[in-house]
């Protein structure tokens, strides 16, 4: 079954150009997807519903449970923060959402990911390509290595527009110039023929943003977009992401280990630890009244201006657990000052706290628990 592109053009039409039109649609879900692609309206209750997602990696030392039964939702146009320390599974979660987990060692072993009403785990690899770049954009962490050094940036930005929107080369380059100036690169038209090495780090990240937004996706996944950049540039890039997503109504999942960034950008936050979500809620709730010891530790460890000089930085003692064969206990319990026997015996569920949409995974802070 062939698909016509967004302008209703099919192969043979002179305005037509290369699309993933040779994608064979062989699943039920794939057919649903194709009809969805015809317009930009929301088609479901929520943009993203993730249920019990588990992604594991097979290594020599055993199977690493990088992401373990993670569930969350994302509204159309919402900005969600995925916060946690290195190795907690936030990047793998994002990669899983667009099925880019490197597939020899890694694999999504369980769960559902419903994107705009489509269960994307039921799509074939090929069908998934219809979404990537078109409805889901990705900004990677390191702008220095994420761009192809032998292709002009004009080409790299135009690539997905040509592919997914059926634009001719000319039209796609015009769009690329538009995007480039929207992300704040001066003299955009002239710079289309330049190569990545002719741009600074901050500018390359802007290019990445342009690439991610080229087809006006519904979801933008930003994996630590500013970690590799200078502090002064960080703010600019974040502001850019915010303004563009506001302008186009794009939902954003922002992955970061920096709480300050999350606080400034997000509507809601998921705090992750050891492959699990341990707290989730609106940004104000999380920051004003976190209900999980790990979250306290995180917030507490932020250096503050009003501290006495020379005071030691507060850290959370210990190290994150080994994710191979995690035990039944609460994964944070080894490091938790408030842990009790029940914590070491079994793992708590995410349950609501004061606000209905503020959930935490901790026995101690549950209503009736021992931490107040």
């Amino acid at each position: 079954m062939t698909v016509t592109n967004d302008q209703g053009r099919a192969p043979g039409d002179p305005e037509f150009s290369e699309l993933p039109l040779d994608v064979e649609i062989s699943t039920e879900e794939g057919r649903k997807l194709v009809s969805l692609l015809k317009d930009d309206r929301p088609h479901a209750r929520k943009l993203l519903e993730v249920r019990n997602l588990s992604t594991h990696f097979a290594t020599r030392e055993g199977v690493v449970h990088a992401v373990d039964e993670v569930s969350f939702e994302l509204d159309y146009g919402e900005t969600l923060g995925l916060v946690g320390e290195s190795g907690c599974g936030k990047s793998v979660t994002a990669l899983s959402l667009t099925r880019l987990v490197p597939s020899p060692p890694g694999e999504i072993v369980a769960g559902e990911i419903i994107f705009d009403g489509i269960d994307i785990l039921k799509l074939t690899g090929n069908e998934m390509r219809l979404l990537r770049g078109k409805k889901i954009g990705f900004i990677f962490q390191d702008p220095m290595t994420s761009l192809n050094p032998t292709l002009t940036i004009g080409y790299q930005i135009a690539e997905s527009a040509r592919l997914h929107l059926g634009l001719s080369r000319r039209a796609a380059l015009d769009r690329a110039a538009e995007l480039l100036s929207k992300v704040g690169i001066p003299k955009a038209k002239d710079r289309l023929a330049d190569y990545p090495h002719q741009f600074s780090g901050g500018m390359r990240q802007r290019v990445m943003i342009a690439i991610a937004l080229a087809c006006d996706p519904m979801l933008l996944l930003a994996d630590e977009p500013t970690t590799a950049l200078d502090v002064t540039i960080q703010a600019q890039i974040l502001e850019l992401i915010r303004s563009l997503s506001d302008e186009f109504g794009t939902a954003v999942i922002l992955i970061t280990h920096d709480l300050g960034i999350a606080a400034g950008m997000c509507n809601r936050i998921n705090v992750m630890y050891a492959g699990r979500i341990v707290e989730t809620g609106r940004v104000d709730d999380i920051f004003e009244s976190p209900r999980m010891p790990y979250a306290w530790g995180l917030l507490d460890s932020l250096p503050r201006l009003d501290e006495e000089k020379g005071a030691r930085l507060r850290t959370i003692e210990g190290l994150p657990p080994d994710l191979i064969n995690p035990g039944p206990e609460c994964r944070f319990s080894p490091r938790c000052h408030y842990a009790r026997d029940v914590c070491r015996a079994s793992e708590p569920e995410l349950s609501p706290r004061a606000e209905e949409d503020h959930l935490a995974r901790c026995f101690g802070t549950e209503p009736g628990g021992w931490i107040q």
């Binding site: 390509r129 770049g133 192809n148 592919l163 330049d194 090495h197």
Partner: protein
């Protein structure tokens, strides 16, 4: 990039100077003069030898001879042959160079047209059957010298199976005779190119920009051809220099075994005949050719890598 090219061109001069000096010194250091034997064991009378030596200016001081020789080389005069006194080296080279260049180009094309796809496929099917096969074949190709390969090909395909002639009167005019020498000469280059291409592709597979390309929803075919192969070929260009040099020196053996009427074979013959004029001149010819080819490869490399071209 222009600066780079200029520097590379200038660098050739001391290199060739050095080569010419060494060549000259070594040949002049040979105790027996070129006229000490006329082949067949005949020895010339001293008067004749002296006359010949003075005719060719062999009695002048070495420095003068050197300068004269280099001067001649620079205007393209490769000098006389001491054995065939009615022909100059230029004549001899003119006769044979066609076959040698022809053979070299064919072997080069074969090497590139087989080596690169072989390396790409081996990398894409990493640890699969094609990979092990290609790697194994490469290793054998690299370790097996061209004269072994030539002999084996000759024996199997020519002597035993009779598919290709091993010698014939009008040798190079018959295309059937081109096959075996080309394959023999291309053996090592195919293996080297395949190996480097594979290693380079494997590295490229791990690069972040490949992941970015995937995140755009591009077809695998596009990702491989547009994003990966381009980048992986750039390092491969660096070995083209040594490969071209190999094609030149390898021609000595292959031409000799298969009797190809080229200058490589003639070089070997002149070594056996102690025709020092020819030896010196042809050594310089080959050295210049190799130096120029290396330069071309370096420039090509600078050109295809945008990071160097636009800097």
């Amino acid at each position: 990039m222009l600066g780079y090219i200029i520097r590379r061109v200038l660098w050739i001069i001391p290199v060739l100077f050095f080569v010419s000096v060494i060549t000259f010194v070594l040949m002049r250091a040979t105790p027996s003069g070129p006229f000490d034997s006329f082949g067949g064991g005949r020895i010339a009378a001293p008067g004749v030898v002296a006359a010949l030596e003075s005719k060719y200016g062999l009695n002048d001081p070495p420095q003068i001879q050197y300068v004269r020789w280099v001067g001649n080389l620079l205007v393209g005069d490769l000098g006389p042959s001491y054995k065939y006194r009615d022909r100059t080296v230029n004549d001899i080279v003119g006769q044979g160079i066609g076959a040698t260049v022809h053979l070299g180009i064919m072997a080069f094309l074969l090497a590139v047209l087989i080596g690169i796809p072989l390396g790409v496929i081996a990398a894409l099917r990493h640890n699969g059957v094609p990979d092990y096969l290609a790697t194994f074949v490469s290793m054998i190709g690299i370790a097996t010298p061209s004269f072994v390969l030539s002999i084996l090909l000759l024996v199997f395909f020519s002597v035993t199976l009779g598919w290709f002639p091993s010698q014939s009167a009008r040798w190079w005019d018959n295309p059937a005779t081109w096959v075996l020498p080309t394959v023999a000469l291309a053996g090592f280059p195919i293996a080297q190119i395949a190996r480097y291409t594979r290693a380079s592709m494997l590295e490229v597979t791990r690069k972040d920009y490949v992941r970015t390309a995937q995140s755009k929803g591009l077809r695998e075919r596009t990702i491989v051809s547009v994003h990966m192969v381009r980048n992986s070929l750039i390092p491969v260009v660096t070995i083209l220099g040594p490969i071209l040099a190999f094609l030149i020196t390898g021609s000595f053996i292959v031409e000799t075994i298969f009797g190809v009427p080229g200058i490589g074979r003639y070089y070997i013959v002149s070594i056996g005949q102690r025709d020092y004029g020819v030896i010196m001149a042809m050594t310089m010819l080959f050295a210049v050719a190799i130096a120029v080819l290396n330069l071309v490869v370096d420039v090509l490399y600078a050109y295809i890598d945008p990071r160097i071209r636009y800097s």
